[in-house]
């Protein structure tokens, strides 16, 4: 799309920046990647009153241009890099009018970069409520930039802001804020001369950040380093004195433009809410209640839409089989690709529901309180207060949960959470566990009320939580972080959630999943489908020929015959060959080649285990007929006549499913969230090793 002007949105976290972005662009937004960071690049288009089109880019929220995390570092590099396609013609700094002082620090930094800038005073309604009166014109005059009071939430002042963007000057008109040159006079002058930059503050920023900026050549960066040595420049001391100078400027600016009636803070509504929500006892009880509610909802509310999606694809597949000429291409399209697509779409209800809740928790300000309350416990195991939500969400499904880790600001905490979430017993493991438990654990009660099978299942759930926490604890020592782990964060005032934002988040997250992780999932499903549906040489043809002989067709019912054929085909497919190939490796775990096939096909999704077992033992394998699968497995014998599924084998298999990363969707989503293949690879490796060890130990203990 053609753009006439590029506008960047910059502001502190919790200032309503995303709301403003949504108001300006509507559904007209695109999500992409910034190189090297995990935060999404959100761009969108906005029609200006003069008919021109503005491209709006939403930059990560930050308190300062000096980044404290990798994600924040993107802000300065976009604003400063002249070669970057996204380099804005205009910057809109959005500030919280009810807390101008802290918010203006970022404005003064941005203004000194000498790019045309507009100041948007958001939450004017809140400021009025707090009896803060702001002389907007006086501020505009002192700063020398347009100052537009808005309320992004209520959509007030947006037209004025659009008009201001349309009529913005092409040259920066803002007043200088502080005497930047005084901070490091010789160094700034020398960098301006040698690197050819024309703004003193830009030169100073290069001195601070040259190590992480991609647009500088290594020689330039090296030269800046030498200059710093020469002029005895200490980055942190310089940042400290700059910040103090900026706050002095801000205090002067606000002294006669903003007046605030002193109200007792303790009386505010937010504080009253906090007294209950972060209470020693009620706080935890309420949080537990909310978690349970979310967990239940992901399970209960998603069941029906998931069934609808599943049924739709079954219907579409069977009708396409009728319409299209039969042949390998149709099979690939209908069974392979459509099957994969159905595997992607089926996640949408869970993702939408979880993100609906999370965006409510974030929007209201409750999520920061969760972090505040849980920090002490979670920190001990290397996690973050905010890790609680993905971990509990993991009981339903790891895919939306891993996507939800993006609100964990600390990089290391976030990575550990992503790495351990798939260990939590997700709903796809449930059919596998119930099948195996029913097979080997007697269905009777102990101590009157406890059902033995139920106890075994509960045990598996608890065990998964313990293993997740233990692995997190170990990773705390393994993972090296470049960033220092701060907890210093704002506790925003409680607000009502913005329902439009909640809806947009649900829509946007589901879309991002389908478009980005979906590709990988479909690809993997197609590969697995090919492996299971084709065999080397003419083995499949031979099987078909064999069963066309009269001794089979005459004496057996046609569907029974079909199942026998399917079973024999699977055995001779590439997956079957692979199952035979890995048989020696999994033999120490007590698994035969048939289980090997199931382990391979389960990579599409864990619950496929049941279906594969049904095909291998040639029984009709839909959910209602689970008992027939169970019967067949129960009577299955090894070549020497001993039963295949002993307690040792069943528990060993459960341990394998507890630890192994048998989920292509999770692998895809971990890649999408970390933007680096090494993370899912490392995760896959460590989980496979753990699975193997746990199975090995279990098998040999119970044998």
């Amino acid at each position: 799309m053609d753009t006439d002007i590029k506008v960047a949105l910059v502001g502190n976290p919790n200032t309503g920046k995303s709301t403003l972005f949504n108001v300006l662009t509507g559904l007209n937004q695109k999500i992409g990647n910034f190189p090297g960071v995990t935060v999404d690049k959100k761009t969108g288009f906005c029609e200006l009153p003069d008919g021109r089109k503005a491209q709006i880019i939403d930059l990560p929220g930050t308190y300062s241009l000096y980044p404290k995390s990798r994600d924040e570092s993107i802000v300065f590099s976009i604003l400063a890099d002249r070669t970057n396609l996204l380099k804005p013609d205009l910057i809109v700094v959005i500030v919280d009018a009810s807390n101008l002082k802290r918010n203006l620090l970022l404005y003064t930094q941005v203004a000194d970069l000498k790019v045309p800038v507009i100041l948007a005073l958001n939450m004017m309604d809140m400021a009025q409520k707090a009896e803060i009166s702001i002389n907007v014109n006086a501020i505009a005059q002192k700063l020398g930039v347009p100052v537009i009071p808005i309320s992004a939430r209520k959509g007030e002042g947006i037209d004025k802001l659009k008009a201001a963007i349309a009529f913005a000057n092409k040259v920066p008109l803002q007043q200088d804020t502080i005497d930047v040159e005084a901070l490091a006079p010789q160094l700034i002058a020398q960098i301006e001369k040698e690197i050819k930059v024309d703004t003193p503050y830009f030169a100073l920023q290069l001195a601070h950040q040259h190590e992480t900026l991609d647009f500088l050549t290594p020689e330039q960066s090296q030269r800046i380093e030498e200059l710093e040595q020469e002029f005895n420049f200490h980055s942190q001391k310089a940042q400290a004195s700059e910040t103090i100078a900026r706050y002095n400027y801000i205090n002067d600016l606000l002294y006669d433009t903003v007046t605030k009636k002193e109200t007792a803070q303790d009386q505010s509504i937010s504080n009253k809410i906090d007294r209950v929500l972060t209470h020693k006892i009620f706080g935890f009880v309420l949080f537990l209640g909310i978690l349970m509610f979310i967990f239940q909802s992901i399970f209960a509310w998603s069941a029906y839409p998931m069934k609808l999606i599943g049924d739709f694809f079954v219907w579409a597949q069977s009708s396409l089989h009728h319409i299209l000429p039969s042949g390998p291409l149709t099979n690939l399209l209908v069974d392979g690709v459509m099957g994969g697509l159905s595997g992607v779409m089926v996640f949408i209800p869970q993702i939408a529901i979880l993100f609906g809740f999370i965006s409510i928790l974030e929007d209201t300000g409750y999520m920061s309180r969760v972090t505040f309350m849980m920090d002490r416990i979670m920190r001990k195991v290397g996690l973050n207060g905010k890790s609680v939500v993905p971990l509990i969400g993991g009981f339903a499904c790891a895919v939306p949960s891993i996507m939800s880790t993006r609100n964990i600001e600390n990089w290391k905490d976030r990575m550990i959470t992503i790495m351990v979430t798939p260990l939590v017993t997700c709903s796809a493991r449930l059919p596998v566990y119930t099948l195996l438990i029913a097979l080997v654990v007697p269905n009777r009660n102990v101590w009157w009320i406890f059902n033995l099978q139920g106890l075994a299942l509960t045990g598996m759930y608890l065990f998964s939580l313990i293993s997740a926490v233990t692995v997190a604890f170990v990773m705390k020592y393994i993972l090296k972080s470049r960033e220092r782990g701060y907890f210093i964060m704002e506790l925003p005032v409680y607000r009502m959630p913005r329902w439009k934002n909640v809806g947009l988040t649900m829509y946007e997250r589901s879309g991002a999943f389908v478009l980005q992780a979906g590709k990988v999932i479909v690809a993997v499903s197609v590969i697995l489908w090919v492996l299971a549906s084709f065999g080397p040489g003419d083995r499949f043809k031979q099987i078909e020929l064999k069963y066309q002989q009269p001794q089979y067709t005459q004496h057996r019912q046609s569907d029974e015959l079909q199942r026998t054929i399917a079973s024999e085909k699977l055995e001779n497919s590439y997956a079957g060959v692979l199952g035979h190939a890995i048989a020696p490796v999994i033999k120490p775990l007590g698994f035969d080649w048939k289980i090997g096939i199931a382990l391979i096909t389960s990579f599409a999704a864990r619950e496929v285990f049941v279906g594969t077992m049904a095909t291998i033992y040639s029984v009709d394998g839909n959910a209602e007929k689970m008992e027939s699968v169970q019967q067949k497995m129960g009577t299955a014998k090894n070549p020497d006549g001993s039963p295949v599924f002993t307690a040792a084998v069943a528990f060993s298999l459960m341990m394998f499913y507890a630890f192994a990363m048998q989920c292509a969707s999770t692998v895809a989503v971990v890649y999408r969230e970390t933007k680096d293949w090494r993370w899912p690879a490392a995760q896959f490796a460590y989980m496979t090793v753990l699975a193997y060890l746990a199975s090995f130990i279990t098998y040999h203990l119970l044998k």
Binding site: K260, K280, D375
Partner: protein
């Protein structure tokens, strides 16, 4: 006296910092020398704490609060 030693509801005025790197972050967040701070909340398990500073609520761990020296 350090900020970490204040009880719930008690106030103090920031004098200086013991950790330069942390001080840069704290000052950016509006916690500057000369600024009044009040402990407004303590987490149920005793750590972290929340302070009222520069017109808003800031939460930080006790270890981080101990780098702030009060007048």
């Amino acid at each position: 006296m350090r900020l970490s030693q204040l009880g719930l509801g008690e106030t103090g005025i920031v004098k200086e910092f013991t950790d330069l790197e942390m001080s840069v972050k704290l000052m950016e967040m509006g916690c500057l020398p000369g600024e009044e701070v009040r402990v407004s909340r303590i987490a149920p398990l005793g750590d972290p704490i929340a302070i009222h500073v520069s017109g808003y609520q800031l939460s930080l761990r006790k270890r981080e609060a101990s780098t702030i020296i009060l007048q």
